[in-house]
């Protein structure tokens, strides 16, 4: 749910990075944070455990620039990927405008990907959203690892509806901005439709 402020001429949107544990959601945000000019970003907040696993969420505010005199701001959130943090994941999906599903390309994680994607659908539905109607992008992460499945196989398992998809290696940053731009664009196009 975007927030449009005519008084300060701002539009704020919320993007959530979803996916199984250790798939690279936080790494995506960290790369965006590192590569964004200081004046375009706020502080990145990570609510993580001592072993750097996401406990509640990561948060990164970005301002992209102006469209027709309105400042466009995107708030990027990640969810905790570990299965038992489901209650927290639901909370973070509140008011979401666009979703990035970060899939772990490694063969041994395919079941975790499927389970997480299923969980995303269910949790969205509980909030009254339909994944098929939301701006939604899939990122196949960890393409550099030797155990990575082919994109065709991943697509068959995870992207039956053919949403836009990107290959990525979040540690080096490959595909990270492409993913972000794509989802931001989908959100703006959605807003344009006056939904």
């Amino acid at each position: 749910m975007s927030f449009i402020n005519y008084a300060s001429r701002e539009i704020n949107c919320k993007i959530v990075y979803y996916g199984p544990g250790l798939c690279g959601k936080t790494t995506n945000l960290q790369f965006v944070y590192q590569k964004t000019a200081p004046d375009a970003k706020g502080k990145m907040i990570s609510l993580a455990t001592e072993t750097e696993r996401t406990l509640f969420f990561d948060f990164l505010p970005l301002s992209l620039g102006e469209i027709r005199g309105f400042k466009t701001r995107f708030h990027l959130y990640t969810v905790p990927g570990q299965v038992f943090y489901d209650a927290s994941r639901k909370l973070i999906l509140k008011g979401v405008d666009g979703v990035v599903f970060v899939a772990d390309s490694q063969e041994e994680r395919i079941d975790a990907n499927i389970e997480s994607l299923e969980n995303l659908r269910i949790n969205l539905k509980e909030q009254g959203y339909d994944l098929d109607k939301l701006p939604y992008i899939i990122q196949y992460n960890k393409r550099d690892l030797p155990g990575a499945m082919s994109v065709e196989e991943l697509r068959r398992e995870l992207n039956p509806t053919n949403v836009p998809e990107f290959e990525a290696c979040a540690t080096t940053g490959e595909g990270v901005f492409e993913t972000l731009k794509a989802v931001a664009k989908l959100i703006l196009v959605d807003l344009k439709k006056g939904k």
């Binding site: 975007s2 927030f3 402020n5 008084a7 706020g42 509640f56 992209l64 027709r68 708030h75 909370l91």
Partner: protein, 163 residues
């Protein structure tokens, strides 16, 4: 969609700022800000420049969401007031009209009792303003008027953001 987009107009924005500006004085607070339940900062008054208000807004909403989850687990609808006591500064967080979050930061020049009392009064006024905003949005929607300044943007406008 489960929640309509929150739209803030100049008129209501000023009204909101008047109410929280008055609350700031009456409660002897340092900073007051209003946050959407989704973590978007709506407005702030007082020494706002000393704080990272964007982060504060996001964490406040996370906090309210988490305690709301706890409330449901024990059979409560929500916890409408949260209070965090620090060594010097304290935070009084309350839900206004079921939809927005009012955050009051104060130190020992004020007291919890005073803040609670003043917040209660201001909450009613804020509730009324947000109620009015919602009605306005619904009416506009019925008339078919778009709330979006976005209706006329082109694909090029969007692409330019990323160049």
């Amino acid at each position: 969609m489960s929640n309509p987009t929150l739209v803030m107009y100049d008129e209501e924005f000023q009204e909101v700022n008047e109410v929280i500006g008055r609350l700031l004085k009456e409660a002897n607070a340092k900073v007051i800000f209003l946050v959407d339940k989704n973590g978007q900062l709506i407005s702030g008054v007082g020494e706002t420049e000393r704080f990272d208000t964007t982060s504060l807004a996001s964490l406040t909403a996370g906090n309210i969401a988490a305690t709301g989850g706890l409330a449901k687990l024990i059979g409560e609808k929500e916890f409408s007031i949260l209070f965090h006591e620090g060594e010097k500064d304290n935070l009084h967080i309350s839900i206004v009209g079921g939809r927005v979050i009012l955050v009051v930061l104060f130190d020992n020049r004020s007291s919890l009792g005073l803040v609670r009392l003043r917040v209660k009064k201001s909450s009613e006024e804020l509730s009324a303003i947000f109620e009015k905003l919602m009605t306005k949005s619904v009416e506009r929607e019925k008339r078919g008027a778009s709330d979006f300044p976005f209706a006329e943007i082109t694909d090029d406008d969007i692409d330019n953001l990323f160049s």
